[in-house]
Amino acid sequence: MTDLYFYAALFLLANMLVGLARALRGPTMPDRMLSGELMGTTAVAVLLLLSVATDTEALIDVALIFALLSVLAVVTFVRRTWPEPGPPRGRRWP
């Protein structure tokens, strides 16, 4: 069974690297961010699988940190980096 988990992790790593093509090709900024999101979620899954395959419980903590901090990049990108044309008329948040 542990061998199987390692194969699954390998499959996910390959999957993640194929998804990298979107980060390199774009064409727009959010497309590249989406690729980052894919890699973040997949890395969480890879870490979970590796944690079971190698019997290292601490890897779950690394996965937890990834899951917790993945939102930060997207929020900073939307709030700071993406050039803004100004708010549309009407309601405002916050």
Binding site: T28, E37, L64, A67
Partner: protein
Amino acid sequence: MNLFIDGASLMLLVLGLLFFLSGTIGLLRFPDVFTRLHALSKTDTLALGFISASLALQSGSLLLTLKLLLITLLVMVAGATSSSLIAGAAIARGVRPWQR
């Protein structure tokens, strides 16, 4: 009973891998940011849920299972919010959804 749990775990694992694959295919093949968002965030969250469920069936420890549950919930909440942020920001910046 043990065989049943092993079988269910294996099935969940394979389902998770397939959903990850479909998310990547969607990200690469779909035509614009909204469709890619749709393909990616839903399938990936679901796939991670399947994989955590598969591992939780085998974990045999309550703490580990709770951590897996916490990670899955975090990814769900974070994925949903970041998708809505990106989509909302794209609309506000005048990105037109793709039409045939």
